[in-house]
């Protein structure tokens, strides 16, 4: 059975002026870790809010756990766990008090589902008397995850849980999600970080309210149509300019300390290097590279 089914969901703001979510459809299987990947303003939060029943859709339908998000909103609210993008716990309550409060709101106790949050909670337990407002970004997110998990939800919605969190805490956070998946909890997570996409079972690339593609991260990468090259030279700017103006270039953009580029069929390393030499750029480091999710995303955007 599918845990989440989204069917042609739409949401507009300002009397239809802005189409935040445009005809979006996808399905998430039970126990799956599903990622919505897209930049800020892509419509991720609107989708989350509709699925968690706090926002009414303007078109289409969706079901969570087989329950309609409009008609059965009360029952859905009992079952799902939701962590909004903005830190949304009580800053003047301590870690312990926040957790107990949310446990009681969901008619349960911390003890009852302690094993579910144990791995996460032990990391913040030494600070349990500290007020939530005084926690670091990573600890806040861990606490928020505990609060969202405390009632053993069947589906967990995490809206950008790692935004504003340091790289180490981000990594830890994703490890926690993988462990939760083993407990057969369906997780829908959104992130603007492309590197996190590979950690999901399946991902939906989303931009301007539209879904560009849905697949496993491996398939997304494999479906990259061209050979991708990484190039480097000094000065970098001249190289970027030259490649951009090369008539056979399909895609070119800066990527870390390298630049990534793909070319029309039949154009290989030699042709490019010859062209660059003509342009007066001789010392070029050029190698084939495996596309990342980000490369795929950029490629989808251009086409």
């Amino acid at each position: 059975m599918e845990a989440v089914v989204v069917n042609a969901l739409s949401k507009t703001y300002g009397q239809g002026a802005t189409r935040a979510v445009d005809n979006v459809s996808f399905a998430v299987s039970k126990g799956e870790l599903f990622g919505l990947i897209g930049p800020d303003g892509a419509g991720k939060t609107s989708i989350f809010r509709m699925l968690t029943t706090v926002l009414l859709p303007d078109g289409g339908s969706a079901a969570v756990d087989g329950l309609d998000i409009v008609k059965d909103y009360k029952e859905i609210r009992n079952r799902v766990g939701y962590m909004p993008g903005k830190f949304s716990l009580y800053p003047d309550l301590s870690i312990e008090e926040n957790l107990n409060f949310f446990a009681t709101v969901f008619n349960t106790t911390v003890e009852e589902n302690y094993d579910l949050i144990k791995d996460i909670y032990v990391q913040i337990e030494p600070f349990k008397k500290r007020r939530a407002g005084k926690l670091s970004g990573g600890m806040k997110q861990k606490l928020a995850l505990c609060c969202a998990l405390i009632h053993k939800p069947s589906v967990l919605f995490l809206d950008e849980p790692t935004t504003g969190v340091d790289p180490v805490s981000r990594k830890e956070f994703w490890e926690m999600l993988r462990r939760l998946k083993e407990q057969n909890i369906t997780i829908v997570v959104s992130t603007p970080y492309m590197d996190e996409a590979t950690l999901c079972d399946r991902i939906a690339l989303i931009q301007n309210g539209k879904i560009l593609s849905i697949d496993t991260p491996a398939n997304v990468v494999a479906s990259y149509p061209d050979t991708l090259y990484a190039l480097r030279s000094e000065p970098m700017f001249a190289l970027l300019q030259a490649v951009e103006h090369y008539p056979h270039t399909r895609n070119s953009y800066a990527f870390g300390e390298y630049m990534h580029a793909s070319f029309t069929d039949g154009v290989g390393e030699d042709e490019v290097k010859n062209y660059l030499r003509e342009q007066g750029i001789a010392a070029v480091e050029m190698k084939k590279t495996t596309p990342t999710i980000e490369d795929c995303f950029i490629n989808k955007l251009k086409n």
Binding site: V54, K74, R77, Y82, P84, F87, E97, V105, F106, N107
Partner: protein
Amino acid sequence: MKQFLTFVRKEFAHVLRDRKTLLILFGMPVVQILIFGFALTSEVKNSRVLIVDNANDAASQQLLTKIEASQYFEVDRSVMSPLQMEAAFREGEIKMAIVFPANFNEDLLHQNQAHVQIVTDASDPNTATSLTNYVSSIIQDYQASLNQTLSVPLRILPETRFIYNPQLKGVYNYVPGVMALVLMLVCVMMTAVSIVREKETGTMEVLLVSPFKPVLVILSKAVPYLILSLVNVGTILLMSIFVLDLPVAGNLLLLLAESTLFIITCLTLGIFISIKTSSQQVAMLISLMGMLLPTMLFSGFMFPIENMPVPLQIISNIVPSKWYYLIVKAVMIKGLGFSAIWKETLILAGMTLFLFVISLKNFKIRLA
């Protein structure tokens, strides 16, 4: 029930951990009582006093010199007829008039006692009492200095008369008024920010995606403020009894019960504001501007409602503090029982029910 208690405990934590709010909550009533009780009744200096000296003899002149020497008065010695004097009062030119009878000195020497009339404009009761007290003590002082050398004591009898407000109602007026004002402000303002704060910080979004019931949120927000406001009522009553010497004439329990009702009215009003607004600032502004002014203007505590134009009198009926003010005056000062205030009680109860129902109806179960 457990859920409700947890909600209440959380609300208490919000209130008690916010030092600034607590300071306002408990500081405001004390400050207001003191301001209205003392600051506004402090020394009255340089009040214009009219002297009508029909005697113009040795004794009256000596007494007048003493009065003139006082910094409290600015003496005007022009001779006026009683009619002119009344006009001067009406125009607000003078605050007080001291009238000596024609044979002041003779009466004093031969009958051993003489009268002097002190007329005061009591539309401002605090000033009026102060002025009268100053003059009386000057007269007593003069009398004592005369009696030092005499075997038979002479007596000057001041006859004081307050015009415009013979019962000096204002002294009593302000305690019920301050009670209405403080409760209204504290209750409405504090609850007005309580729900909108959850919307602003985003906790409302998390709460919405949970099985909570709106009625639970509304009630749990109200409980801590109800208890804290009752503490405030206690403070005000204690201060009025022990600091201002104004005891509760009627039934104390009835007064507390009526105060509880009024607090609940204000809390539901605050919650309604909180539900309808989207930022704490707006909620704060609405409750301050929207509550402070009408309470001052229309509860009858600063300006008598009977003197207002009819449209304003009608508007005053929707101000809850007006009814509470009437109730407190009746119970606390006049010592009346429930039979005298059942109508006002009913109106307040009706307002509360109405506000509660529309709050519940307007509670958004989704984000706007």
